[in-house]
């Protein structure tokens, strides 16, 4: 399920007549099974881009193709699109509404064509993937759960359709470090099983250590894209980290200011560690 984004634009008009261009001519390709991160300052259009890829908004220019087919073309199977693409928005626990956890998670499968027992099996699988004991949780009210449990139930609801593409909008914002780790771990597993993951995040470490490719948005434009490491290095070189740099990169800058210069290819903590070891062992590269 490759995603091709061609000259994608999205603009709208305010009541005063003023035109706002949320996205301008975005072009890129996301390969099947990739783990892509999207980063950029607030207001750069990241959420809008996710909404467009999920087919929740129509572009005002350009097109989005899934496996070569334009998703906004007349006759494209919208029902199928909903099953194939799963979106987890910010604070997904806000979407919960049903009387039992089982019913909420099963919601997305209503038009899937699966039989009742198949649906129950899927719901069980989704909840167990999110770390729940199915029998214990299935009849509880989703609204009465704790914050963390709610979030996991909401994500289970999206997983239940077994989407081939999963979109996450700031999934770890506001989570404690343990939950963050847990989530990234789970996403990696899903990705390894073949699901394409696109994750919007402000967390540089999460992006640096887990994603394979990065898209950098600013003011609606795609200002950089490519393999994660290279993008971080270029961002630092060209914009001195204005669009985001990892803690390891910041430390490298600080050390350089104090006359300890490490190679520019330091992006993650591991890079930092090996560079420091090299420095301490014999001083200087090579």
């Amino acid at each position: 399920m490759s995603i091709q984004i061609e000259h994608l634009s999205y603009a709208y008009r305010l009541p005063s007549g003023e035109k706002v261009e949320a996205l301008k001519e975005i072009t890129c390709t996301i390969a099947t099974g990739d783990f892509v991160g999207i980063m950029g300052p607030t207001g750069s259009g990241k959420t809008t881009l996710l909404q467009l890829i999920a087919g929740l908004r129509r572009p005002t220019g350009g097109r989005i193709r899934l496996n070569g087919k334009d998703i906004n073309a007349h006759g494209y199977n919208r029902n199928l699109l909903r099953q194939m693409v799963g979106v987890v928005f910010q604070e997904p626990e806000n979407q919960l509404f049903a009387t039992t956890v089982e019913k909420d998670v099963a919601f997305g499968l209503k038009y899937s064509g699966l039989s009742r027992p198949e649906i129950t099996a899927r719901v069980q699988w989704a909840l167990e993937t999110m770390g729940f004991d199915f029998e214990k949780i299935r009849n509880q009210s989703p609204l009465a759960l704790s914050g963390g449990e709610k979030r996991r139930v909401a994500i289970a609801g999206v997983l239940a359709t077994k989407p081939q593409i999963l979109l996450f909008d700031e999934p770890i914002a506001g989570l404690d470090p343990y939950s963050r780790q847990h989530f990234l771990h789970f996403v990696t597993k899903i990705n390894q099983a073949g699901t394409t993951i696109i994750m919007v995040s402000h967390n540089m470490e999460a992006l640096a250590e887990y994603t394979r490719h990065l898209l950098v948005l600013a003011q609606g434009r795609l200002i950089d894209s490519g393999p994660t490491r290279e993008v971080f290095i270029r961002l630092k070189q060209k914009h001195s980290g204005a669009f985001g740099q990892t803690e390891a990169q910041k430390i490298t800058t600080l050390l350089a200011k104090n006359k300890l210069v490490l190679p520019a290819a330091v992006v993650t903590y591991d890079d930092l560690l090996s560079a420091l070891k090299q420095e301490l062992a014999g001083g200087g590269p090579g």
Binding site: P15, R82, Q83, F89, N94, F107, K110
Partner: protein, 265 residues
């Protein structure tokens, strides 16, 4: 489409923009009465002329001022037909069973549709030249006299201003929830009424839950900061009305009076 916290407001510096909202609201209702009171051709000429002048005074482009009229075009047609065909007035032109096309009905149809359109345009002129916060401040001022019959006007004013401040957040949340549920395959169709109603549950329940959650947080914060009742809140000093405000109020009242005098003729 995205709604700003300013609703339909279009920024500007026209005469209408500069009028105090405390005068614009009553003037609107006075002019609305003038429209409803139009009973003859001259009566309508008067109100149409007044509205034309107001559109000029607002600095708004004509398409903007009449935009919402185009949107309800179908609705207006239905109203006209209902009056024309079912009025049962004199001068029947044709009839098929209970359906009677009458001249009286058509006149009535034009009148009703005309009233709706004119009031709509008046309403647009009001909403496009007044910020929502100005509207609530004006409402709060205007209900002050009700204090004498025991209405807790300060509390009402506070509730209104909190409501206004919540609107942009509620708007955003609702949009997000709608999209999230559509992304999960929610559909809001269905033949059978109960099913149709139930299909809105995934939209309505989360919206209310998140709205009430924010409300609860605010209430707790207010109580924690020693809030007890609305009377003790510090208030901003009210600006006095300007000459143009008094002028506008007088002119509108005169127009209304003229309209009712015209009815006598």
């Amino acid at each position: 489409m995205r709604m700003l916290p300013t609703g339909e407001y279009i920024p500007g510096h026209s005469f209408l923009h500069r009028l105090d909202a405390r005068v614009k609201l009553p003037c609107f209702f006075i002019l609305m009465a003038a429209v409803i009171g139009a009973a003859s051709l001259w009566g309508y000429v008067l109100v149409v002329a007044v509205i034309a002048v107001l559109i000029l005074l607002s600095g708004l482009p004509l398409p903007a001022a009449v935009a919402s009229v185009r949107r309800i075009y179908g609705f207006l047609l239905v109203i006209f037909l209902m009056n024309a065909l079912f009025f049962g007035g004199e001068d029947v032109l044709a009839s098929w069973g209970i359906v009677q096309l009458s001249r009286g009905g058509m006149e009535q149809g034009f009148r009703v549709v005309g009233n709706v359109v004119l009031i709509l345009v008046l309403g647009n002129l009001l909403t496009m030249t007044t910020l929502p916060t100005q509207v609530t401040a004006a409402l709060a001022s205007l209900i002050k006299p009700l204090k004498f019959i025991g209405v807790p006007t300060e509390e009402v004013a506070m509730i209104l201003s909190i409501a206004i401040q919540f609107i942009p957040t509620l708007m955003e949340e609702t949009e997000l929830i709608k999209m999230a549920q559509i992304a999960r395959g929610a559909r809001f169709e269905s033949r059978k009424l109960p099913e149709r109603a139930a299909s809105f549950i995934p939209l309505v329940v989360p919206v209310f839950i998140s709205a009430f959650r924010r409300a609860e947080e605010l209430a707790l914060a207010m109580e924690a900061r020693g809030y007890r009742n609305a009377q003790n809140r510090t208030r901003r000093k009210k600006e006095p009305l300007a000459l143009r405000d008094y002028g506008a109020l007088t002119v509108c009242t005169l127009i209304c009076l003229v309209q009712f005098l015209l009815r006598r003729c």
